[in-house]
Amino acid sequence: MKDKTASIESAISRIKDGDTVMVGGFGVPGTPFGLIDELARQGQKNLTLIKNDANEESMGVDRLLQNGQVNKLVVSHAGLNANVSKMMSKNQIEVEFCPQGILAERIRCAGAGLYGFLTDIGIDTILAKDKSRIEVNGRSLLLEEPLKADFALLHAQHADSLGNLSYTATAQNFSPLMAMAADQVIVEVEHLLDLGDLKPETIHTPSPFVDLMVSLPTLTSDYGVLRRGR
C-alpha cells in the first residue's frame, strides 16, 4: 500500500517558488488554514493563487498576501478582504476576477482533461473584453480556458488511508473540482478513518485524485464560527 500520509512540513515543502496553487474553501468552510499557515511559514514566493475568495483580513490566504508571497490572485470576488483592494491599488498584486460559476467550470475543465468550453456568461460585460470569441451555429460565444495548478490545498472532514475524501456541508464548494485539476493534491484531514469506513457511494473525491494527506491534530480558532458585526 502506497502511504499517502505525510507531515505537514514535508507535504508543503514540495511547493516551489513560482508555483500555481489552488486553495479550496468558500469563506471559512473548506479553507485549509493549516496548510496555508505552513505555506506562510515556509515562505515560498511568486505564487499564483486560485481560490473562490481571498478569505478575510489576517486569515487564510490573506496571510500569504500580507507576506508578499503572491504575485497573482485568481478569484471570483474579494469582497470580505479589504487588503486585496489596497494591494491592487498599490500594484502589489495582480488580480483576475472570474464569474464564480465560470471559475468553477474552468477548474473542472482542466480536471476533466479538456481544453476549454464555450459560454455566454459575462459576454456583454467588461470581463469579456480580452476573451476569444467563437461562432457556433450563428451564436457568438466566449472561449473559457482551463485553469490548472501545480498544487491543490484542500480540507476534508473525512478521509481513508487510500485518499478517498468526503466533505461536510458547505465546505465542499470548490474542493472536488480542484482535486481533479492539480498535478499534486495535498489534503488536510479532520478525521482519518479506516479503510472501508467510508461508504463508496458517499465519497466526494475518489482516491486516485489525492497525493498526500496531512492529519490535522487540532483545529485553530480560524476554523471556528466568525463573530463579526453585521
Partner: protein, 221 residues
C-alpha cells in the same frame, strides 16, 4: 446606495414576497433580498438555493448556535430545512445556468430601461469581483431587483442606459423600490404600482428613464 425608512423598507419587502410561489427554486442576493425569507408565508414551501452549494437553506442562525461549516454565499450562518442538499460549486452553477433557478432577487446600483443591470462595480471605488452575480442575473428564469429608487446623492438609479459596468444585459424583469414597482417589458419601463404617500408624478420625477404610465389608476402598495 440610498437610505430607507424602516416602515417603507418593511412594506417593500412584504410586497416583494408576492414574487414567490410554492415549489420555486430561488436565490436571494445579499442585503434586502435576503430579508424576503423572513416575511414569507410559512405555508408556502420554496427551495432556497445558495451559490456555495446548498438547496434548502433555512433561517439564519446566531453565532452561538451556528455550524462552522454551514454558511450561505453571503457568509451568514444559516440552517437547512429537511430535504436540503449540499453539492459542489460546479453543480451549484449548473442549477443556475441550466435553467433550474426559477427566480433571483438582487440588489442594484443601476437598472437601465432595456433591463440592463449594474450591481457589481464602481470603477475606482468598488471593484472586488462579481462572485456569482453574472450567472444569477443572466440565467435565472426571472430576475427581480430590490433597491432604493434614488442613490445617496438623490440621483435616479433607473436610467436610460447604465453608466456603470453592467452585470448582465437586458436581464431585469421587475424592479421593487421604496417608491414604485416597475416592470421591464420589451425594453420599456412600465409603472405598475406606487408606494403609499407617493404620487405618480413624484415617481416620474425620480426616474431618469422614460416611464410608461397605465391609463387606469395606478395601485398603491
Amino acid at each position: 446606495m440610498g437610505f430607507l425608512d424602516v416602515d417603507v423598507r418593511e412594506r417593500m419587502i412584504r410586497t416583494a414576497t408576492r414574487e414567490i410561489e410554492a415549489g420555486m427554486t430561488i436565490n436571494l442576493g445579499i442585503g434586502l433580498p435576503t430579508k424576503l425569507v423572513n416575511y414569507l408565508d410559512p405555508r408556502i414551501s420554496v427551495c432556497l438555493h445558495s451559490e456555495n452549494g446548498i438547496t434548502g437553506v433555512g433561517p439564519g442562525v446566531e453565532p452561538d448556535l451556528a455550524d462552522r461549516n454551514l454558511i450561505d454565499a453571503g457568509g451568514a450562518y444559516v440552517s437547512t430545512l429537511p430535504g436540503a442538499a449540499f453539492f459542489d460549486s460546479a453543480v451549484s452553477f449548473a442549477i443556475i445556468r441550466g435553467g433550474r433557478l426559477d427566480l433571483t432577487v438582487l440588489g442594484a446600483f443601476e437598472v437601465a430601461m432595456n433591463g440592463d443591470l449594474a450591481n457589481w462595480m464602481v470603477p475606482g471605488i468598488f471593484a472586488v469581483g462579481v462572485g456569482g452575480g453574472m450567472e444569477l442575473a443572466q440565467k435565472a428564469r426571472r430576475v427581480v431587483i430590490m433597491m432604493t429608487h434614488l442613490d445617496r446623492h438623490g440621483n435616479s438609479k433607473i436610467v436610460p442606459a447604465c453608466t456603470l459596468p453592467i452585470t448582465a444585459a437586458a436581464c431585469v424583469d421587475r424592479i421593487y423600490t421604496d417608491m414604485a414597482i416597475i416592470d421591464v417589458v420589451d425594453q420599456v419601463l412600465i409603472l405598475r404600482e406606487v408606494a403609499k404617500g407617493i404620487s405618480v408624478e413624484e415617481v416620474i420625477d425620480a426616474t431618469a428613464a422614460p416611464l410608461q404610465i397605465p391609463d387606469n389608476p395606478v395601485p398603491k402598495f
